[in-house]
C-alpha cells in the first residue's frame, strides 16, 4: 500500500508537470509499472499445422490473460502458416515446421494482390491457376514475385499523408521488398462478388464483409511479408529464405525502370490479419526476425542487425538519422542507397517476450537449429470492446503496434499518427465509397 501511494504521487507529478508545461504527451508512471509485471505459464499445446479458427479464450477475463490468449493464437497461426506445404498448398502433416527448409510454406500458396487486381478490372485466374510474372522476369510462375518497395505505397501515399512512409534499406544498401496475400476464403469472397474490379464494386454497392472463422472453419486471412535480399554480412542459415523474382515496378515511383532479378531473399517481417467470430475488427499479429533492430533505451547487444549499424550509433559519419526514411527520389534500382538506421520504439511486452522464448525453445526442441526460432512476436492487437457501436475500432489492445519492417517510420504513441493496425485499417474503403472491412486491398481494383 505504501508503495502504491508512492507510485500515485510519482504519477501525479509527471502529469502535472506535463499540464503546467502545456505539453500533452504523458506516459503514466503507473501504467508503465503495471505493464512491466509478468506472469507466464508454460505453453502446453504442441506445434501444429492447424490454423486456429476461433477466438482464443483461456478462461480469464483480464487484459493480461486475454493478451496472452491472443499472443498464443498468433504463434499458432505463425507456425501453421509457415508449415511446409505440399504442392497443393496444404500443410504436410508428415513433417514439422522446421523441416524441409527449401519447401514453400502454406502461406506462399496464397494469392498475391497483383494476381487479384488486374489491369482494366480483368477477372483474375482461379485459386489454383498460377499467374505469370511480368515478361521481364521470365516464365516460371511458381516463383514468388516481390514487386513492392513500400508497404502499400499507392494506398498510404494517397490517403494518409501524415505518415512518413518510405522504403526500408538494409545494411547492404538494398531495398526491403514486400508482398500482400490473401487466403482462399478471402479470395473467393472477392471473386464471387466481383470486387476485383471498379465496375464490380460499383455493382456490389454495399460494404464488404469478409467471412468470419467459426469453431471449425478458418475464416478470412490476409498477410504481409517483408523480405531482404541476402547479401554481405547476412547468414542465410539464420533466415527463412526463398528464391524470388525481385521486381522493380515502374508504376510505383517516378523514374523507376522496369527490371527483374531472381534472388535469394530472407524473411524479416510478417503480418497476419485474421477474422474470427466475435472480432469484426480482425486480430492482428506481427512477427519479425530477431536481428532486425535494437529497442530504444535497451542495449544493442547483437553483433549484427539487419537494419541498424553499431558504427552509426557510435557517432559514425555518412549515417542516416534514426527511423528516418531515405531522401527522395526513391528508386529500388539504386543499390547504393544509404542504409536505414532503425530502432524499435515500443518495447516488446515482458509477457510476450517470455512467450516468445517458450515458443523458440519448442521450435528448437522440434528441429535443433531451425531458422523459425529466429522469429519473434512483437504483439497481437485485438478489440477489447468488439461490439461497441460508439467506437468502430473496438478499443484495440495494445493501442499501438508497429513492425519495424512494415511500419518503420510511424512507430510511436501518438493517436492517428503512430501505427495501430485496427485504427488505420478502420478507415479502409472500396472504390464504391463503401467500407472494405479493414483491408486496403480493395482500393486496388481498376
Amino acid at each position: 500500500m505504501k508503495e502504491n501511494r508512492v507510485l500515485l504521487i510519482a504519477g501525479a507529478s509527471l502529469l502535472l508537470a506535463a499540464c503546467d508545461g502545456g505539453k500533452d504527451e504523458t506516459v503514466s508512471a503507473i501504467s508503465a509499472v503495471a505493464a512491466s509485471s509478468s506472469s507466464v505459464s508454460p505453453v502446453e499445446e504442441p506445434l501444429s499445422p492447424e490454423i486456429p479458427a476461433k477466438e482464443p479464450f483461456g478462461g480469464n477475463v483480464s487484459l493480461e490473460s486475454l493478451q496472452r490468449d491472443f499472443d498464443i493464437f498468433s504463434w499458432q497461426s505463425f507456425i501453421a502458416l509457415n508449415w511446409p506445404a505440399d504442392t497443393d498448398g496444404n500443410p504436410n502433416a508428415g513433417v514439422t515446421i522446421g523441416e524441409q527448409p527449401n519447401t514453400m510454406r502454406v502461406w506462399q500458396h496464397y494469392k498475391e494482390s497483383r494476381d487479384i487486381f488486374l489491369p482494366e478490372g480483368t477477372t483474375p485466374p482461379g485459386w489454383d491457376q498460377p499467374f505469370p510474372p511480368p515478361a521481364t522476369c521470365g516464365s516460371d510462375a511458381t516463383k514468388p514475385l516481390l514487386r513492392q518497395v513500400g508497404k502499400t505505397p499507392n494506398v498510404l501515399d494517397e490517403s494518409a499523408e501524415p505518415f512518413q512512409t518510405g522504403p526500408l534499406i538494409d545494411q547492404n544498401g538494398q531495398y526491403t521488398r514486400y508482398e500482400i496475400l490473401t487466403n482462399q476464403v478471402m479470395f473467393d469472397y472477392i471473386l464471387d462478388n466481383d470486387l476485383y474490379s471498379k465496375a464490380g464494386q460499383a455493382k456490389f454497392n454495399a460494404k464488404a464483409e469478409f467471412p468470419f472463422g467459426t469453431d471449425t472453419e478458418v475464416g478470412s486471412i490476409m498477410l504481409k511479408a517483408a523480405w531482404k535480399v541476402m547479401g554481405e554480412g547476412d547468414d542465410p542459415g539464420q533466415f527463412y529464405t526463398t528464391e524470388a523474382y525481385v521486381y522493380n515496378n515502374p508504376h510505383e515511383n517516378a523514374g523507376v525502370s522496369e527490371a527483374c532479378q531472381l534472388q535469394r531473399v530472407g524473411l524479416v517481417g510478417f503480418h497476419i490479419g485474421t477474422k474470427v467470430e466475435g472480432n469484426p475488427q480482425w486480430i492482428w499479429s506481427t512477427f519479425e526476425h530477431v536481428n532486425n533492430a535494437p529497442t530504444q533505451g535497451q542495449a544493442a547487444d547483437k553483433e549484427h542487425y539487419n537494419y541498424y549499424n553499431h558504427h552509426c550509433a557510435d557517432g559514425g559519419v555518412d549515417c542516416t538519422a534514426v527511423n528516418e526514411p531515405p531522401p527522395r527520389p526513391w528508386n529500388p534500382a539504386n543499390t547504393n542507397t544509404p542504409p536505414s538506421q532503425i530502432e524499435r520504439v515500443i518495447p516488446i511486452a515482458d509477457d510476450t517476450a517470455a512467450l516468445n522464448r517458450q515458443y523458440q525453445q519448442k521450435l528448437q526442441a522440434a528441429v535443433p537449429g531451425t531458422v523459425w526460432a529466429n522469429y519473434e512476436l512483437i504483439s497481437t492487437q485485438w478489440p477489447t470492446a468488439a461490439g461497441d457501436v460508439t467506437d468502430e475500432t473496438g478499443v484495440p489492445a495494445p493501442t499501438f503496434l508497429a513492425n519495424t519492417t512494415l511500419e518503420t517510420y510511424i512507430q510511436g504513441r501518438v493517436k492517428q499518427t503512430s501505427s495501430s493496425c485496427i485504427q488505420c485499417h478502420n478507415n479502409a474503403a472500396m472504390t464504391n465509397g463503401k467500407k472494405s472491412d479493414f483491408t486496403y486491398l480493395l482500393e486496388r481494383a481498376q
Partner: protein, 167 residues
C-alpha cells in the same frame, strides 16, 4: 473499497455515465489511472486541505452504502448540496469537468462579478483529450481523432444512451 473504487463510483454518480463507460471491464485506455492522482493532488493543493480528497471519497462511500439504498441522483445531490463546504463542492465540480473535458479547471478570482470569474483549463494529455466525455455527449469524435469508419458522416449517429452506457 479502495480509493479507486470510490473514485469510480463517485465519477459515475457525478457524470451520469454508466460504470461500463467510466471503468470498462477491459480498460485498455485506463484514463481513470491518470485522473485519480491528478484530482487528488490538485484538490489537496488548491484547497490547502490534504485530507479533502479522502474525505470526499469517504463521504461518497458512506452514501453509497446507506440503507435503504440511495439512487445515484440522490447521492449526487447530497455530494453537491449546500451542506457541504465550498471547497468540497468545488472539488466535485472539478471532477465533473475533468471527466467531461479531460482537463483540469481553475476558477479565476474575479471579485464583483456575478459569475465569480472565468474558468481556465489545462488539458492533461492527448489521451485525456480524446477521452473527454463531452465528445460522447455530442455523439461525435474529438477533432483529429475519429474511431468511426469511412463514410460515417453519411449516417446518423447511434443513440445517445449507447454513448452514456445508460441503455
Amino acid at each position: 473499497m479502495s480509493s479507486m473504487d470510490n473514485f469510480v463510483g463517485l465519477s459515475v454518480v457525478l457524470t451520469g455515465f454508466a460504470k461500463s463507460v467510466i471503468n470498462p471491464t477491459l480498460d485498455e485506455v485506463n484514463i481513470k489511472a491518470e485522473y485519480l492522482p491528478v484530482w487528488t493532488e490538485r484538490v489537496a493543493s488548491e484547497s490547502g486541505d490534504n485530507q479533502l480528497p479522502e474525505k470526499i471519497l469517504s463521504n461518497y462511500q458512506a452514501l453509497s452504502e446507506q440503507e435503504p439504498a440511495l439512487t445515484d441522483q440522490q447521492i449526487g445531490e447530497q455530494m453537491l448540496s449546500d451542506s457541504q463546504s465550498a471547497a468540497f463542492v468545488l472539488a466535485c465540480r472539478q471532477l465533473i469537468f475533468l471527466w467531461y473535458m479531460g482537463a483540469w479547471p481553475t476558477v479565476q478570482e474575479a471579485p464583483g462579478t456575478s459569475t465569480g470569474g472565468r474558468t481556465d483549463f489545462c488539458t492533461l494529455s492527448s489521451k485525456s483529450y480524446t477521452s473527454g466525455l463531452v465528445w460522447r455527449v455530442m455523439q461525435a469524435h474529438p477533432m483529429g481523432d475519429s474511431n468511426y469508419s469511412y463514410g460515417y458522416w453519411g449516417e446518423p449517429p447511434v443513440a445517445l444512451d449507447k454513448y452514456t452506457g445508460q441503455q
